[in-house]
């Protein structure tokens, strides 16, 4: 006989034990199935992570039918399996239930008011709410600005009134804390008691009803957060949930996936659930339904490479569409956007620098050798090429402390004597980046019309250079090196203060920001209607989220929101552009949101068409390196 039990204190773990008369084949089959999650054990015992065990649950069926082995399930595991079975039945029932009629929606509105919720929801929000509360666990993939926070709090109010949960734990980026705090006050007649989890030193009082934490702190102080979630029936909400897309492989992902076991109800909120393709959904579904993701998602979703394959997108969409709600950007009836792509050749010395750089890497990357080391090197090369395409002076500086950790790289290594050294020395005396010149002009023109400009760059050094160059416009600047702290001393520059200065100080007409630090959770649409992208990376999530800072619900109908993309012709800027088109298109397929492509991308007559259609970013860069004509085809 084989006995199995789940242990939920700390990290969720399953212990499997066999008796002496156990079937050796059954035991072997079980060890094979659990292999990737085995943590420790002895001849008669195996300790395995709960995720892996639940994902391989069907093997128990095999042990019985093929080997005739008896299985004894422990009481905790049985309880957990019963709730999984109930989850399965209720999510399948929702699918059959179809769309709600008007009467049902009205009833829900009344129930919501009785639950102490005072804000009035819009039509699409109440429809989303209806579906979310009828699912055992919910996913809201509505675009930024559609009011996911409000709908989520409405869901909590309903579930609390129905006696299903009595606490709420929200894990999200710090930038979104402000919105949660404001909404809690504005949505409830009696706002629930809120505590902001500031890390391991935080004491969580017993009467806390809502806990607000971020991914990093929740992972570092896992036990305290788990304790809060497990003690009473708790709704656990992940805001900007795409941050866990690396799933169990990432530290943050691992921690929240483990927390999932302690929560009575789980929800994920993100407008960009799959910025890289279908595979990104695996972590989200695993969080909502631990151990059941394989039952929900088709096999092909698990192959990261196929993540933007047409048929995979269709199949994955068909598998998950019933489990999430999405208010598409088009449904918000936002006023229009206009994209302007400015694609210009680089001036001669910059072009020579770019070519020299390209030549240096070309020979080593065109041959089909794709080791891991190569991949890491390639990441660095991408940084250098992006820098060279915008401002070659960044090459010798390396990354800034405030940069997105994903972009950290050393200065370009130069040994002296190369042509590059000579070119770089001449560059600063004879040329300046055309993109900088263009931005200066855009900012100055706007200032003369009393308009404000938002400038995006992924590199903090660009932001700092522009800060000096645009000094007369008193730029506000926000990046990873600017702290987020509302309680900081008056003379400290914080993100919140910079945003406020940009919003309210007439002298400050430009905001310089990087998408990693302020792509999420910030609203600037009342103050600014024109964003300029100095450069972009392969990160489609950043690109989409950054647009939503100025293009969101609440804009007046007559406002045109403009996006200007600056591309150095024939450089990596073109490859990035092509790849972003592909990723956004894939996301629109996955989310049944065809308008996304129109709204969030330049249409083909606004930019260059025939973007390179490569399998992945790696190939796009390698193709760029290999394409000796790229630079001559400007």
């Amino acid at each position: 006989m084989i006995s199995v039990e789940l242990y939920r204190q700390g990290r969720p773990t399953v212990i499997v034990e066999r008796t002496d008369d156990g079937n050796l084949g059954a035991w072997a089959r079980l060890q094979e199935a659990l292999a990737r999650g085995i943590e420790s054990g002895s001849p008669s015992r195996t300790v395995v992570h709960a995720d892996v065990f639940l994902a391989e649950l069907s093997v128990l069926r095999e042990l019985r039918t093929v080997f005739g082995e008896r299985i004894a399930l422990g009481p905790t595991l049985s309880g957990h399996l019963r709730s999984m079975a109930a989850d399965r039945r209720s999510r399948e029932a929702v699918v059959d239930a179809g769309n709600p009629d008007l009467e049902a929606l009205e009833a829900l509105e009344i129930e919501l008011a009785q639950a102490g919720f005072k804000r009035t929801l819009r039509d699409f929000q109440i429809r989303n709410l209806y579906r979310l509360v009828s699912l055992p666990h919910g996913a809201d993939f509505s675009v930024p600005g559609a009011g996911k926070t409000t709908v989520s709090l409405a869901g909590y109010a309903i579930l609390r009134a129905r006696g299903i949960v009595s606490r709420l734990a929200v894990i999200g980026p710090i930038a979104a804390f402000g919105a949660w705090k404001e909404d809690l006050v504005e949505c409830f007649h009696v706002p629930p008691k809120l505590i902001i989890h500031a890390g391991t030193a935080t004491v969580i009082p017993k009467n806390t009803e809502v806990l607000l934490s971020n991914y990093h702190r929740a992972a570092n102080d896992y036990d305290a957060v788990r304790e809060f979630v497990a003690k009473e029936p708790t709704q656990l909400v992940l805001d900007e949930a795409h941050r866990i897309k690396r799933g169990a492989a990432g530290v943050h992902g691992r921690a929240v996936l483990d927390l999932a076991y302690a929560a009575r109800r789980r929800d994920v909120l993100t407008g960009t659930p799959a910025p890289q393709g279908a595979f990104d959904l695996v972590a989200l579904v695993s969080f909502l339904y631990p151990g059941q993701d394989r039952q929900i998602l088709p096999d092909a979703t698990y192959f990261e490479k196929l993540g933007r394959d047409e048929s995979v997108l269709i199949d994955t969409n068909a598998a998950v569409r019933r489990y999430f709600v999405r208010t598409a950007k088009a449904e918000l009836r936002l006023p229009e956007t206009r994209f302007e792509v400015i694609r210009e050749p680089m001036p001669p010395i910059q072009a020579a620098i770019y070519d020299a750089l390209l030549g240096q890497y070309r020979s080593s990357f065109i041959l089909p050798d794709r080791g891991r080391h190569q991949m890491q090197r390639l990441g660095r090369i991408v940084m250098y090429l992006l820098e060279a395409a915008t401002n070659p002076m960044l090459l010798t500086a390396g990354s800034d402390d405030g940069d997105d950790p994903a972009l950290v790289h050393p200065p370009l290594e130069l040994h002296g004597g190369e042509r590059l050294v000579d070119l770089l020395a001449r560059y600063s005396s004879f040329e300046e980046p055309w993109k900088y010149q263009r931005i200066s002009k855009i900012v100055a023109d706007a200032a003369s019309r009393n308009e404000k400009i938002l400038v995006w760059s992924s590199f903090v050094r660009n932001l700092k250079s522009l800060d000096r160059r645009l000094a007369e416009f008193e730029p506000a600047i926000v990046h990873g090196g600017v702290p987020s702290d509302e309680l900081a001393a008056v003379d400290v520059v914080t993100r919140e203060r910079e945003f406020d200065r940009f919003r309210h100080d007439p002298a400050c007409t430009v905001l310089l920001a990087n998408p990693a630090a302020c792509g999420e959770g910030v609203s600037l649409h009342h103050w600014c209607h024109h964003a300029v992208y100095l450069d972009r990376t392969f990160n489609a999530g950043h690109f989409l989220q950054s647009q939503d800072r100025i293009h969101r619900l609440g804009l007046a109908d007559n406002i045109l929101t403009r996006f200007t993309l600056l591309l150095s012709a024939g450089t990596i800027d073109d490859s990035v552009d092509g790849r972003l088109v592909e990723k956004v298109t894939a996301l629109s397929r996955l989310m049944d949101d065809p308008d996304l492509v129109q709204i969030a991308l330049p249409s083909s007559d606004e930019g260059l068409d025939g973007a390179p259609a490569f399998d992945d970013d790696y190939q796009a860069v390698v193709a760029h390196l290999a394409d000796t004509n790229a630079r001559s085809a400007e």
Binding site: S42, R82, Q295, D299
Partner: protein, 441 residues
């Protein structure tokens, strides 16, 4: 510890040890690595029944004799020792070993415990005993052996065996099954930590894992046979188990199940692993199932099998999983039923078929072999067709890569004295002509 030590034997050995010369045994893990070496009568030493080198064979003897504790009830008793000697004498290469001992005698000392049980040198001692008792060869009368201290623990004995096993000279004596059994035992006794197993075996973690994973597949097939097939029967099938366990590792559950059932069935029926290779694909069981359908005997077999099949479906697990089994799962279920049906019967058993007639298991296995072979052929043809579609692209891609290499090597070649620009130009012209031709197609 050895709580029950045979005092009489221990005393006998102690008298020999007194005054014996010490010799270095580097693999002994204690700091005192110099141990007494003595000559012991070859009939007096006992074979170790714990030795992993014979584990698979022991499992077979236990099953066929029906004596569950044959080797661990009274390991030094007559029955256990006789069975162990028989196993050792029947292992592959035993005659060659005897010939070597006849010509060169015992080269390295064996290793015995304080009561004279061989930890190392079992096969050589069996060979010497055979030569002394059978041929009266005087040089085979004594076996020279290191004597371990009387307080050596079981753990130390396993460690020593492992150390000696990994020393180069000893490794090849282990069949893959026995080596994998040793790895499994170390894995289970070291808190299932692959790094520890690897360091003890002097192998990489990935290497010990591969052996372990192969063994888990073998355990399953043996268990399905319900004591009619043994681990030792599959020593020759290492490649099939290796390819199977590698293939199913990261596959979807459906594909893993499909490939596993086909591999088991094929291995049981004697299909060569090179043919099975073609069936490493998701639809493997569909291919085999289709061949079953075209063979009347096998179609009848399916009827017989399915009528005896009792499926226990109830409870919680089913409730969680729901009914998500598709056609592929049904085909797998069919094959798994056939598999356990065939595995549980001896080759000479007779199976009555529905609608009269009967057929020996042996013939059924032959039919299964044909069916799996035919399925492998079909699958092979199928993938060749699929490959044919991309052949021109593959060729063109490698040509492109080669041409790029030409560019990078050209400058260096040109600087060379022997460089022939004429030949270079001719080749270049030929390439251009070939390209021009392709473009006209």
């Amino acid at each position: 510890m050895n709580p029950v030590i045979d005092q009489e034997r221990a005393d006998f050995l102690a008298t020999r040890v007194a005054g014996a010369k010490l010799q270095l045994l580097p693999q002994w893990m204690r700091p005192e690595k110099e141990l007494p070496v003595v000559n012991l009568p070859v009939e007096w030493v006992c074979f170790s029944t714990l030795n992993h080198r014979t584990r698979a064979e022991q499992m077979r003897v236990i099953m066929t004799s029906g004596v569950g504790d044959l080797f661990n009830g009274d390991p030094m008793g007559q029955a256990a020792q006789a069975a162990q000697l028989k196993i050792l004498s029947e292992q592959e290469g035993f005659e060659e070993l005897k010939q070597d001992l006849r010509e060169r005698g015992q080269q390295e000392p064996a290793v015995v415990t304080a009561e004279g049980v061989l930890i190392n040198g079992n096969r050589r001692s069996a060979g010497l005993r055979n030569l002394w008792l059978g041929e009266g060869l005087p040089s085979a009368r004594y076996v020279r052996a290191y004597v371990l201290p009387s307080d050596a623990t079981t753990d130390e004995l396993i460690d020593l065996e492992t150390e000696l096993q990994v020393a180069k000279d000893y490794r090849e004596d282990y069949s893959w099954v026995n080596e994998a059994l040793l790895i499994e035992e170390i894995f289970e006794s070291s808190n299932k930590d692959w790094d520890r197993v690897a360091s003890r075996m002097r192998l990489k973690p990935s290497e010990v894992r591969v052996q372990y994973e192969k063994l888990q597949q073998l355990h399953q097939l043996v268990a399905m046979s319900n004591s009619t097939r043994y681990h030792a029967d599959f020593v020759a099938n290492e490649s099939a188990f290796e390819e199977l366990s590698k293939h199913v590792k990261d596959k979807s559950p459906a594909e893993a199940a499909s490939v596993r059932s086909v591999y088991f069935l094929g291995t049981l029926a004697g299909v060569n692993y090179r043919d099975l290779r073609h069936l490493r694909r998701k639809d493997a069981s569909s291919f085999v199932r289709a061949e079953f359908a075209s063979d009347p005997t096998l179609t009848s077999l399916l009827t017989v099998v399915n009528s005896t099949e009792a499926n226990a479906t109830d409870d919680l697990i089913e409730d969680v999983l729901g009914d998500d089994r598709g056609t592929a799962d049904n085909e797998n279920a069919d094959l798994t039923s056939v598999l356990s049906f065939l595995a549980q019967r001896k080759p000479d058993e007779i199976v009555p078929l529905p609608g009269g007639g009967e057929v020996p298991i042996d013939n059924l296995l032959a039919s299964v072999k044909n069916a799996v072979n035919a399925a492998a052929n079909e699958a092979n043809e199928d993938s060749k067709d699929a490959q044919a579609v991309v052949v021109p692209i593959v060729r063109l891609t490698s040509a492109r890569d080669e041409l790029i290499r030409v560019g990078t090597s050209l400058a260096k070649a040109r600087s060379h004295y022997d460089w022939d620009e004429e030949i270079f130009k001719t080749r270049l012209y030929e390439v251009k002509a070939a390209l021009a031709h392709i473009e006209t197609l």
